[in-house]
Symmetry: C2
Subunit: 247 residues, 2 copies
């Protein structure tokens, strides 16, 4: 069993509100192997614009109630596009939005994910707004969902699909001499300067989640989804350029 988390920066243009990369979505839908897999996708520019502007991470207030609803709908529409791409390729997939069943602090309900996998249907979920008992509403990132589902379902492998080749010793978008790391464990000193934390957390935070999954004894890979064939090869269990994250 595999969990595939596709980052929002892969499937959307992060700098333009609600702008999908339709060709990337189509190609990744081609490469995705539906058997015994869960797909999680990020929000990219369908989520972060409004979430940042109206501080949706800080909780529900009278002035941002409509914005929670708007982000949830934007994400639902991004999700529809991804599911449509899968269905067009005869890969049955169905949405399980976190906001529809989860409350922060409660155990993450994972039973429905299993139910669909058992029926040969890919459960697809995404970083989403979520009920929160303390602050009313909040945000649950795709990375957090990957952790919750990994803990409950113990997949063989979790593949993080990003817009770079893997994890570098420094930010490759700034430093031309950044070196791709074949493996990352708790020991490396990484330089995350120049990466901008967004509402779902910093690059450091994302790596923390990956390590937490690796600690469960699960293989964790970071690969580049903008390069043709990498997702397919990783899902086939073949060797592929990227970073293996160790506990």
């Amino acid at each position: 069993m595999y969990i595939v988390k596709i980052g929002g920066s892969v499937i959307t243009e992060k700098s333009r509100y609600r702008k999908m990369r339709e060709n990337v979505i189509s190609r990744l839908a081609d490469e995705f192997i539906p058997e015994d897999s869960i797909l999680i996708h990020g929000a990219g520019s369908f989520g972060h614009y409004i979430a940042d502007k109206f501080n949706l991470n800080d909780g529900l207030g009278d002035s941002n109630r409509i914005e929670y609803a708007r982000v949830a709908l934007d994400l639902q529409e991004l999700n529809s596009a991804i599911i449509r791409a899968l269905i067009e390729r005869e890969k049955p997939a169905i949405t399980i939005p976190v906001h529809s069943f989860h409350m922060v602090g409660e155990e993450f309900p994972h039973r429905r994910f299993k139910d669909y996998m058992e029926r040969g249907i890919v459960p697809v979920t995404y970083g989403d707004v979520v009920l929160d008992p303390r602050k009313g509403m909040g945000i649950c990132s795709g990375d957090q969902i990957a952790f919750h589902l990994s803990k409950a379902l113990r997949p063989d492998k979790v593949i993080f699909v990003t817009d770079v080749d893997g994890i570098y010793d420094r930010n490759p978008k700034i430093y031309g001499d950044a070196k791709l790391l074949g493996e990352v464990s708790g020991k490396e000193k990484l330089n995350f300067s120049g990466t901008v934390p967004d509402v779902t957390g910093s690059m450091e935070g994302k790596l923390r989640v990956m390590r937490a999954i690796a600690k469960l004894g699960i293989e964790v890979m970071v690969i580049n989804g903008l390069v043709r064939g990498r997702l397919r090869r990783a899902m086939r269990g073949e060797d592929v350029k990227g970073t293996r994250v160790l506990a």
Copy 2:
């Protein structure tokens, strides 16, 4: 607290696959009063075409797996249009698709509906495909959901919004002299001949659900959603043309 169930024949053209009535959706979104309300919508031509053609009511098989996914996606897109119409009118609404949290035979989980109402956000759900322990997958109609939620949450009133003025003594689409009934109880002999049962059941079945809700001591109204102002007036508690369904 109100539950409003809008029939698929109101918001879609039942004879054309995936054809919305956008002007009706906009007007009903105008009339809908979001405070302490749940909205349920039917599937209309977004659900019945494929559901009938591939016998989705009979359960999951290898040949119709993709069709369950396709119907779920079509419904998700219809739902997005309805939620968008509400949000454009500054009425915060969020989707809670039945397929994402429910399994036939288990108690219907209603907690999330309450959570959103408490936060001033309208929970919106719809007749949908659903997990079934016996036949793999099945269909859960909007009317059934109205019953489940009524039983759990005991609303003050359930309003069924249809494409006719209410319940008639015979099918008004066939008999010009059909008489609108101001009230229907268990005693009337109604003539349902000429009504075509669809995958979610016959007109008789729908009336059975309405009576079951009335038996809980809840007021049940059937009104015409194609006539301007009726939904608004019914939600305001004003007198409006239609049929009251008694146990």
